[in-house]
Structures are given as structure tokens and as C-alpha cells.
Amino acid sequence: MEMKVTETAEGVTHVALDGRFDIAGAQAVDGPFVELAEKANLLVIDLSKVNFLASLGVRTLMVTARTMIRRGGYIAVAGAEEGVEKVLRLTGFDELVGLYPDSGAAEHALLERAKEYANRKA
């Protein structure tokens, strides 16, 4: 599975995955996700080009989400197609992070949440 990481001027890290998030796919991206979870504050994971997801892939996403949430970061998932979204909903991952139709909507939601949090702190 291929993984492309980009960062916007607003500080949002975008991860675009491409391929099967199966055993081999999870093994390929586990390490990079551990690093991202420890340094990113706002993370959008684009799954629009992921055509398969099983529990090992969900585990990678959950470990990333748990690490980020504990650090006070925000995470969102974008573009999951039907089968992939079904896996995310059946495991309850959708209750942990937001699922959005595309990366733009996910980024907007994360920036709004970060802004709300900053306003509450001020």
C-alpha cells in the first residue's frame, strides 16, 4: 500500500493511502503511522483509494487515533468507500473519529474543532 503525507499551511497533516489495507498493507504503514501519531496535531486520513480494509488495518487506525487523542490532537477519516466504511462503522471507529465524504470536509471540520477548543481555553 502506498502512503503519501502532505502538510497544509494551516498545520493539517494529510495522509493519502492507496491500495489494500490488509495484512501486508497494515505492516507497510504501521511504522509511519506511529511517527505521525506522535507529532501531528490535526490529521486527515484519506481512504478514498483504499479498496479493502480488515481488522488489522482498523487496528493501525485505532492505535493512531488513541495516541493522538491522548496527546490532545484531532483526527478525521475521509472518502471511505462502501465496504471500507462498513468495517469502520461495525468496529465503532466512526464513534471515535469523524467520517467525512472528502478530505476538504474533513480538514474543515478539524480546523473548526481546533478553533472551538482554542476559544474555550481563551
Binding site: A54, S55, M62, G83, T91
Partner: protein
């Protein structure tokens, strides 16, 4: 019917997924049935190897008039996935355990499961919804 035996290793699980993709393609199954069968094979193989310590697993795939079937046979510890709890996260928060989702996914992605511990092996037959992919132009022809 396509059938093949695999050694009980994670590397073989990857080989099994490739083989399953070929079998579901040869049967001309629709995308949702293909996704479901691939997912169930990965979850069952992982469980048999990691938790059941299986030395080998045999996978068979065939089509019935009411949908595809998958038989998964492994020589690991006795494990009945039909009786396994369906685990999922509930609500936001950072305090949750990760793992144990596979059996629940197999239950939810299959229409019916039949398990038998038989002569030292776990024998599981899964039935799936959905048949063959519609041929190109079928909708317009109707």
C-alpha cells in the same frame, strides 16, 4: 469449486488473499461479495494462526444459486466464531482496548455461519449474499 491448503503463517495469509482474489474473480462475483469473502478469509486466517496456532488451513470457495460459499478448515485450537462476542467501540475517548474485532466482522459480513469441530479441525462454512456481477449493459437491456 476452488480449494487450496496453506501453511499456518502470516506470509501464507497474504498468499491466501491473492488466491482468494483469483477465485472470486473466476466466479465473477459482485464487488460486495468479493469484499466480504476477502475480509472473512483474512480474519479467519489471522485468528487461526495467531490465536489458534494452526499449522495449516484449507480454503474452499464455490457458488450456489443463492450466493457464494466459503469453507475454512484449520487444525488450530477449537474455536467457534459463531459464538464469539461482537466487539466494537462505543463513544469517543482515549481509554479503549484495541483488538478482538475480527470475529464480529466475520459474523456481520456473512449471511450464515455453520461451525463444526470435526476430527481435530475447526470446520466453518460461511454463506454470503450476492451473486455474480451484472454483465455490462444488463440494466439497459432490462
Amino acid at each position: 469449486m476452488g480449494s487450496r491448503e496453506f501453511p499456518g503463517t502470516l506470509e501464507a495469509a497474504c498468499d491466501a488473499e491473492l488466491w482468494v482474489a483469483g477465485e472470486t474473480g473466476a466466479l465473477g462475483l459482485a464487488g460486495d461479495a468479493t469484499f466480504a469473502i476477502n475480509l472473512c478469509v483474512e480474519e479467519l486466517f489471522l485468528n487461526a494462526v495467531r490465536h489458534g496456532h494452526a499449522n495449516r488451513a484449507t480454503i474452499s470457495i464455490w457458488a450456489e444459486p443463492d450466493g457464494p460459499r466459503l469453507e475454512f478448515v484449520d487444525d488450530g485450537r477449537p474455536f467457534d466464531p459463531t459464538a464469539a462476542p461482537v466487539k466494537r467501540l462505543h463513544g469517543p475517548g482515549a481509554d479503549f482496548e484495541i483488538g478482538g474485532f475480527g470475529a464480529g466482522l466475520v459474523q456481520k459480513f456473512s449471511r450464515r455461519m455453520t461451525y463444526l469441530r470435526d476430527d481435530g479441525v475447526n470446520r466453518l462454512v460461511l454463506e454470503f449474499d450476492g451473486g455474480r456481477a451484472a454483465p455490462a449493459g444488463a440494466a439497459a437491456a432490462g
